[in-house]
């Protein structure tokens, strides 16, 4: 179905999938906690894009409200996450997650 001139819902879904996959790849590839955080934001945004595209497709605002709430949660998550990161840095003087391997039996 065309959302607008020549662009269909599939285009947007592909875009979302690519961005999501890149986010996942980034999380796997990098060990720096800040970068990993940013990758998570990227993945959330990928999902948001698909939601807004669906909203357009169905002519319904519920999906947009959903996006709104995802933003809310993302903001809260970043606030707490970065605070944890600060703590982490204070204790280990590093933002490398590979030092965080104490949580094992």
């Amino acid at each position: 179905m065309e959302l607008y001139h020549n662009i269909t819902i599939n285009h947007y879904l592909v875009l979302a999938a690519v961005l999501f996959g890149m986010g996942a790849l980034g999380i796997l590839f990098r060990r720096n906690a800040i970068i990993m955080f940013m990758c998570i934001e990227l993945m959330l945004n990928a999902v948001n894009i698909s939601l807004v595209a669906f909203s357009k497709m169905w002519n319904h605002t519920d999906a947009q409200v959903f996006v709104f709430f995802i933003m809310v949660v993302a903001a809260a998550e970043v606030a707490v996450g970065l605070a944890i990161l600060m703590m982490l840095y204070r204790n280990t003087h590093s933002t490398d997650t590979s030092v965080l391997n104490k949580l094992k039996f």
Partner: protein, 631 residues
Amino acid sequence: MEKLVTLIPLFPLAGFLFITFLGKGLSKNFIGGIGSGAIFLSFVVSILVFTTQMHGAHPTVVKAFDWITAGTFDIDISFLVDPLSAIYLLFITGVGFLIHLYSIGYMHDDEGFNRFIAYLNLFVFFMLILILGDSYLTMFVGWEGVGLCSFMLIGFWYKDMKNNDAAKKAFIVNRIGDLGLILGMCLLFAYTGTLRYDELFISERAIGGLPTEVATAIGILLFIGAMGKSAQIPLHTWLPDAMAGPTPVSALIHAATMVTAGIYMVARSSNLYAMTESAGDLIMWAGILTSLLGATIALTQNDIKKVLAYSTVSQLGLMFVALGMGAYSTAVFHVITHAFFKALLFLGSGSVIHGMGGEQDIRRMGGLKKHMRTTHLTFLIGTIAIAGIFPFAGFFSKDQIIAVAFEENKLMFLLSLVVSACTAFYMFRLYFLTFHGKFRGTHEQEHHLHESPAVMTLPLVVLAVLSVVGGFIGLPHAVGESMHMHWHWLDHYLDGTVVMPALHMDLNTELMLMGLATIIAVGGIYLAWLKYSKRGELALEDKDITSATHKLMLNKYWFDELYNAIIRKPVDAISKALGSFIEPKIVDGLVEGTGAATDAAGGKLRLLQSGSLFFYILAFVVGLIALLLYI
């Protein structure tokens, strides 16, 4: 006016909650006042509710709240106000109030005073639910509730192991009966789809479609429930042991109210029992056997409360005889009069025990009439009432049962006369041994002897008055008509609520029966007087008893020993076998094996928890891929 009915159980519940949660540190008189005041308020409301049923039955269902709602299936707690429940309400709250009042005096020096009053309140609450419930299910809630309270109150003095055993026995024996009741309810629901009295018996007559065999089965199962609660053979053994509880408990629960719940239930189901002959026969035979058994055992007992307990068993048996013969209103009549005089006798015995400083053996009493005038007089009235002497309450109700038996079944008639004679004999034996002759207790006890305080004697007096006049609510038919007095009021009152037997008796037969019953009763009294008062004989010490029948009766026909041998011992043996083989080998093996397996698996699995974030995320992503591929 009927709407007020929801208030009736609320007062005792409020009393219970108040005393339980806020009662600490308040004075005993205040707590007692709260407890009895709650019941008194219920009593007042009960009178108001009762007036709505006075002039013709006017059944009303008052919905209290939704209980279970699931789709189209919903159960609400509703109260049914009709003549039967109204009259039960009246005597339960009335007698209950008097017994609460009495308890204030009786339990005054007990450290568990608050707990006692709270339990009594809770009991009355459940009893009212039992009576007021508009369906078998609601009734069952109350049924179990009173069982629980009975358990707690029998074992009230829990420091003595004997009392706890008695409480457990009552609870367990009642469970057997309750199983029957549950099965009966299930069967009824399976066939009719409802448990509401209204839909079952009146508006939709849902029981109309029941095959006779099913009706019989339901009737028998329900009766098994009644057997447990109302102490009928073979489930009667708990009631005498239940006397381990404080005396007001014996009076309220194990004489006046709870044990008559079985009679209430059968009377409530009268439409069902009218459909089946054989269930009625079973009830009748169980009733008369119980009655004979109770009466003969009571002849030999020496514990003042045990005599009364077996007397209760016997009287309950008579009520079931009436039920079995289809005379439901007659049974209800006897329930009411019995509540008056048996509560009176128990409270009187409590007063005696109180005065004797805890002594319950009548062989250690005697000559108490000089010391306890009010108690003596009221106890005498109760004794005459239960023996069945005109015009005391017991006369009318017992005479009605005998009259019905005369019409229906001559064998029952003869046996009930035997019971009647025994009743008169053992009650007067008790009376003479307790109040006449010389004092046989210790010197210390004699010194201590005193009349009970007014708060205890007042209920005695009120109950004594009721025991005298209570019979007039049900004058015999023929006699009443010949005197142009429409005073066989109870039958009219209950007409339409329970099924009425068709009794056609002319005046002469009725008078003849009344005369016969009186002669029998007087004969029993005379014998007792001759033996225990004129000749001054005393009850034998246990070791002096030689006659085999006497021993048999004294030991309650060895029912307890029989149950021990055929039920408890095998169960014990099986348990032992299971305990020594199945438990350690199979059950423990399974349990410990599960534990060991989990432990081993955990030991391996924990290696996966490497602590490396990278590994976790990788596993997560791989899992996600697998999931998406699967879809």
